[in-house]
Symmetry: C3
Subunit: 315 residues, 3 copies
């Protein structure tokens, strides 16, 4: 593993899950492994959980994390090759990536999509530039189209909570929101769930089809009730339209997940990546009840990041 | 001691003061005590002295401090139970507190009052939510109505500077300001000074009476000259009106503390929590003269925080 | 060396260069030297490279760096003595410097010029105040008129890249920009290059003469082609007018450095302090070609800071 920006293969996925669970039992067991190493955590967009869980993960391994918030006004990066930089951007990504590469042993980067230019977003350009010009291992802390550390934490949580021998039924359900939300979490959840060999049903209102590159192999079902029947894991997430790019096509409150929505899924565990808008995406009764795995997912973010950093230290 | 959000009792107060003075002599004496522990320092409002002194205190004990500035636009916490979160708040305090509780061994939180809704402010709701949902020890870095680490530093400073056997005369005097300032420092200073068994005189223009929950037992005197007579310690602080909640009722410059105000208090030491507005609250001559204990108070912030973190590590 | 805010003398300059090159070979060789020490890095203006390189340098020496971003709204420092602070400033520099001095073993400070009041800027008032009131060693992370850590890194880079016995020809050339840029980097580059005994040619459009306090001894040449002839090191930098203070007098694109500009300087190495505006100050062909020492300068920032901190630890 040279970088960690997306799902690669099932074997690697399982190795990462197993290593994460080892660390969860004994977070400091590899405290000496990263001594003298540094990870630069670059945020082109704000972060709370991701930032802290990555810092803790690094620190558990003896790696020194340094956080750079480049989302504040005045440090806009130029992305286009050959551009005459006589406008708002102050530094070219080539130059910034090369400097950061010379300062750190490893880089972790968050960069959200514009949600206005689909072609630019789906090429995940910023990550390929950092990989190319930094010369160091790059970890995605959420890109325009993927959030692999979240998805790894999600798979760890599913793995821990599978109670029966049979294949679990995993459902990804769209939920209402008031803002236009990126596709990254939904895309990555589909990519990892399918990649790890689980069956996946995705349910959403018409017009909310995700990029088929991520959902190929999943069952798409626009009837939420039908999709949720007998579900074992229900992942709740809003996203904006992919076809009518970045648009909000529906805020229909009947899509909010409630106990009633799960009347035919008595054993369903409910998941969400946080932050969650209560009583808009998910009802209080579920969030505060026994079905919720949400706090466990958040805690597993630490061990997901720790297993990734640990494997990158090996390579 | 399970949390540190207010004055508890005189014995505990004295234990904290004594421990702080031990640390002041040898800041690293318990360097091993907190190895492997982490404190999350959450700022819903900006901070300089409080942030740095807490970081230094933690680090002196081997505790790793991680700072989270949640005051920036875009991470507004929802405080109300049952709210449909379809407006500006992005995460419920329940969820944020639970995640932070799973990430850290201890939390330290700063949250100022609105100064617009007295009932909400005086219930110190944010702190009780963090205590309830984080499941970890919580330290107040200034709440809507209290600033106990400042007050502990103040008591340490008084303790160090008592020269005579007799009880010192402690005076809290209101000072002019151009902004509406919270009551937290004044409330806590009264709570701790009275709690530690000192006599306290509070002087302010009419209309500036503090919440009696904090000032019960103090002498209230609206004639500043009379109040200052023979004072040993004079604490200068502005606050907005509590009765006419959050309002500025006076900016009368004659309330600024000067050498002349202290003409009948030749041995008075002058205190202030900083930042201070020179020549508005306090004159240059006092700040730059020998009476000022203000820099000592600021330095004692480190040892106040260190004794609190140390005691919470024990429990 | 008690502080590091400007060029002092050639012998000290050479000592710093040599020590930096030692650290570059073995960054952790003095890992124990700064154990238990702390450096407060105070940014009144934003920073990326300077902040990170200083953190890394401190950490290489075992010194704990703590970053304070005071550039955000709400922490404006009062600079004027005797001022009645009833306006926007919230704390006097005297008080802030004294507190920071009591919290840290060493301070590093960034404070840009206003570019509106020349007299205030050229006196570098903020630095003299921090030196006076903090009582601790002060390092400049770029002041109104100097950027000595950048210049030390530049001299290290020149030192590493001198190929021949003869004196190199060093040229500082003005470049176009769309913003009014401070003189600090240009001033300091001149001060250090001349101070280290190199010959220096400075070329710029008329009206862009730098403060003679920094350029005395340099050859001033308004014909860029003539200035660049046979150059060994070409330092590219924009600055605003000093005489017509802070004004942009030219954006003439013919001043951008390109391969063509260097047609009579076949062996020229090109330098820039970053961030660089591509195809405005410097062409892509140079930045991406073999002449560029720019990434080396950025990397040398770490060792420049490390040698300075190390020498201040000795004193």
């Amino acid at each position: 593993m040279n970088h960690f920006t997306k799902f690669d293969n099932k074997e690697l996925g399982q190795t990462l899950i197993d290593l994460a669970l080892d660390y969860k039992k004994d977070p400091r067991k590899d405290q000496q492994k990263g001594q003298g190493k540094r990870i630069g955590c670059v945020f082109l967009n704000p972060s709370l959980r991701t930032r802290v869980s990555t810092q803790l993960a690094a620190s558990n391994l003896g790696v020194e994390p340094i956080v750079l918030n480049m989302d504040k006004e005045g440090w806009a990066l130029e992305m286009r090759d050959g551009e005459i930089m006589n406008k708002g951007t102050v530094e070219h990504i080539k130059d910034a990536a090369a400097v950061l590469g010379s300062y750190f042993d490893m880089l972790a980067i968050r960069a959200f999509p514009s949600l206005t230019n689909r072609e630019e977003d789906i090429n995940d350009f910023i990550f390929s530039q950092f990989v190319k010009y930094s010369g160091k291992p790059v970890i995605s802390l959420e890109s325009a189209i993927r959030h692999p550390l979240q998805s790894l934490a999600d798979q760890i949580t599913i793995h821990e909570n599978i109670k029966e021998k049979r294949q679990p039924k995993v459902v990804l359900t769209w939920a209402p929101h008031i803002k236009a939300i990126p596709h990254a979490v939904a895309n990555s959840f589909a990519e990892w769930t399918l990649g790890m060999g689980h069956s996946l049903t995705i349910t959403h209102p018409e017009g909310y089809e995700l990029d088929v590159r991520f959902t190929k192999g999943a069952t798409i079902e626009t009837d939420q009730n039908k999709a949720l029947e007998d579900a074992d894991f229900v992942y709740v997430k809003n996203w904006s339209s992919f076809n009518d790019y970045g648009k909000i096509l529906s805020t229909d409150p009947s899509w909010m997940l409630t106990e009633k929505s799960l009347s035919k899924a008595p054993n369903a565990n409910v998941m969400h990546c946080l932050p969650v808008r209560r009583n808009l995406e998910l009802s209080d009764e579920i969030l505060d009840g026994n079905r919720s795995l949400i706090q466990k997912q958040a805690e597993n973010r630490i061990y997901a990041a720790q297993s990734v950093i640990s494997m990158l230290l090996d390579s």
